[in-house]
């Protein structure tokens, strides 16, 4: 009985402790706690800017795009055009890498190839347009351009490697 309740609240333990810790830190003027809370808010702002878009993309794919269509365009036999499509999809998004996992799941569910799923993850981590804008602002066009051009062939290679390695290995992505 107690164990069952514990399983229910387990996901929220971190959150609850953090809230208590933060409120306590402000109450008692505990500076480290305030610093931690402030960097949390920075990350949180980043999160709420990408989450709505993430749900829109996942929702759109789930409802609007039939499996046959996705399979045809970015499935096993899709070729270069398929690679181009997943790269562009990734470039239009924002957010840190873990925000791409739900999209990877939906792509997998709809029949995208292993190669294209990992190319999507690679493009998502390194080529997102909103992020490139910030990068150019801080690190300059030369740096950004060099980094993207070097990264592109490498993460495509990762995609090919993963497809080769996971062939016949029952690869699947779970819904979380």
């Amino acid at each position: 009985m107690i164990k069952k309740h514990f399983e229910k609240i387990k996901p929220y333990i971190w959150l609850a402790s953090f809230v208590i810790f933060s409120v306590g830190s402000f109450w008692f003027g505990f500076d480290p706690g305030r610093t931690i809370y402030q960097s949390f808010t920075k990350s949180f702002i980043e999160m709420i800017t990408f989450i709505p878009f993430l749900f829109i993309i996942v929702g759109l794919f789930d409802v609007w795009f039939p499996k046959e269509k996705i399979e045809k365009h970015i499935g096993k036999d899709s070729g270069i055009k398929g690679i181009l499509m997943v790269v562009i999809l990734a470039m239009l998004q924002a957010g840190p890498l873990y925000g791409a996992f739900p999209v990877a799941y939906i792509l997998y569910k709809k029949g995208a190839s292993i190669k294209n799923i990992f190319i999507y993850l690679g493009a998502f981590s390194t080529l997102k347009i909103p992020m490139l804008g910030i990068e150019i602002g801080y690190l300059g066009l030369k740096f950004t351009l060099a980094r993207t051009l070097v990264a592109l062939p490498l993460f495509i290679a990762v995609g090919y490697f993963m497809e080769w390695y996971l062939k016949n290995k029952n690869f699947k992505i779970n819904d979380v």
Binding site: K42, F118, A146, Y165, N174
Partner: protein
Amino acid sequence: MFKNIVVPFLNILILVSLLLFIVPPQMIVKYLGAGSGAIGFAIAAVVGSITLIPGFISYPIASGLLKQGASYATVAVFMTTLMMVGVVTLPLEIKYFGKRVAILRNLLNLFVAIIIGLLIGIIL
């Protein structure tokens, strides 16, 4: 789906905030700055792989590093591992992809990030 995604995401943010407190940006700048050489490059790869620093904070750090005379290679490997490798997010990634694939993806991407860093160092 919403709840299942948002709660782990918030947990990651909490963990990241704690990590940023333990390893503050000033400390990163100190160890990766000018003349840090191969050791700086290695530290950049390790710190970048473990942590997950939001863009708001990581780009100013990177720009500060370059202004202080850190090498392009070190900054590139730091930014690339931050983006592509995530030890903090590994538990979540394992839930989606399974242990073997998640670990393999991170190792491969660490390898790729190191190559990117070295190549950027040669190009720029």
